[in-house]
Symmetry: C2
Subunit: 265 residues, 2 copies
Amino acid sequence: MRKIAILNQKGGVGKTTTAVNLSAGLARQGARVCLIDLDPQAHATTHLGVEPQKGAASIYDVLVRDCPIETVKRSLQPNLTLVPSHIDLAAAEVELTGVVGREVILREALAQDTQEYDYLIMDCAPSLGVLTVNALVAAHEVFIPLQPHFFALHGLSKLLETTSLVARRMNPSLQVSGVVICLYDSATKLAQEVVNDLAEFLNQSRGQNVPWKEARIFETRIRRNVKLAECPSFGQSIFEYAPSSNGALDYFALAQEIHCQANVI
Amino acid sequence: MRKIAILNQKGGVGKTTTAVNLSAGLARQGARVCLIDLDPQAHATTHLGVEPQKGAASIYDVLVRDCPIETVKRSLQPNLTLVPSHIDLAAAEVELTGVVGREVILREALAQDTQEYDYLIMDCAPSLGVLTVNALVAAHEVFIPLQPHFFALHGLSKLLETTSLVARRMNPSLQVSGVVICLYDSATKLAQEVVNDLAEFLNQSRGQNVPWKEARIFETRIRRNVKLAECPSFGQSIFEYAPSSNGALDYFALAQEIHCQANVI
Ligand SMILES: Nc1ncnc2c1ncn2[C@@H]1O[C@H](COP(=O)(O)OP(=O)(O)OP(=O)(O)O)[C@@H](O)[C@H]1O
Ligand SMILES: Nc1ncnc2c1ncn2[C@@H]1O[C@H](COP(=O)(O)OP(=O)(O)OP(=O)(O)O)[C@@H](O)[C@H]1O
Ligand SMILES: [Mg+2]
Ligand SMILES: [Mg+2]
């Protein structure tokens, strides 16, 4: 099972759009996918048409009230299961302060889960707090969605620093697999410059003893496409909403690139 | 002095771009502006060319170590002063847990500051945690930058709920002044639909006893313009970087709309 955390503390770079549409794309290729929404905004949950009701079971119950993950899952499509989030999760950061081993609760809960999946995908909030650290501890791989803008590069070093800290202290197998270029506007030279800077940075890290030594920029770039911004309001992935749009083509290609990569590893 | 908090817990909607370019636009009209960066990412600080050094004085020292705000200010242009942020601020949420009155520390620090300004602008992180609450307690007005996408509307109710709670318990004069439509793409029907939904929601709130009863959508829409995404890497506001771009025209018009509004109030 590949366990992938989708994270970037910079806001609005395409984390949720990638988590949801990549999960749906992998499911369409026959892979069994479990998507965990770790963002209190619960946008991945809403994106897939599940409205977080007051008091409904969610990842909050797993992290703060020790409920088994089995009890909060929802099977949405043949190969796609969702562990929904809830706004109550916003309080988790403070409620878990002082709880022993608060950073490994998710990994522990997943270890109790007997259900088999091919992929476990975790959507994170725009922060490097305790919820994101839970994802990093539970994951084997990190995917970094990145809008090719200046602020995106600026925050990367802090993101990699946190990943390296978690890898050293709690999860030695954690690797940064790659960067997904999102909201790509090939017409602007800014996008190309940022991608070049990023590629150079990753090349320089080859062979060093860091969790991103083998990280690369995924070949598939996700182009800016308004259909991707429209589909969440219908509770659908891009494949149900606009199957022949650029958004669907790009996320299907990304799913293929990742799924085929798996057979290589 | 108008004290304005720029906030929206949805990530990447244009908070920092608005805080910086509105501050610079107001300063160009002769107003004395103090911009406070309350985001640990320190993007407003970087946007204005100030590189947060390790150990340099910042808003962290004001909030966590009780330093007077006077000691951390930086005067950048004739009418523009910055209170920089620092990555250490990320720890403030946990470090302030249990501190009595942690939500009013910024208001208190500002009350000690003898310097007169026409505008106090606060850029916030994509969260509704203790740093954002400090801004809401210290502010008289809230501006909500909003990208006209589905997720933006989805999070609005939580944002207004938090604002209303702060207004009731700690800051009765707090009002939501308006919504700044950012990253506006007039070519898409999605943008128009979201703006219409938002206008209808605000109209229904007229006359109710809520902090957003007089909120409106600012006439000036900030169009998507790549120059706005380029200027942060040069440490400049849009007015120095690309003075005749759409970005500069839009933010100057927004500054005029807000500055003229002041003379009406
Ligand atoms: N390729 C794309 N083309 C057009 N719009 C997109 C694309 N990817 C994402 N969006 C839209 O841009 C906005 C930001 O994307 P998204 O919410 O996925 O980012 P995020 O990183 O999850 O944000 P947050 O930091 O708030 O969690 C959303 O309104 C989304 O619908
Ligand atoms: N009108 C615009 N046209 C083009 N690009 C823009 C515009 N406004 C903002 N941007 C770019 O979009 C990205 C998001 O904007 P910004 O960082 O200001 O949002 P934010 O709400 O402050 O994000 P965060 O939630 O991470 O604090 C940045 O890379 C910025 O340069
Ligand atoms: Mg998200
Ligand atoms: Mg910002």
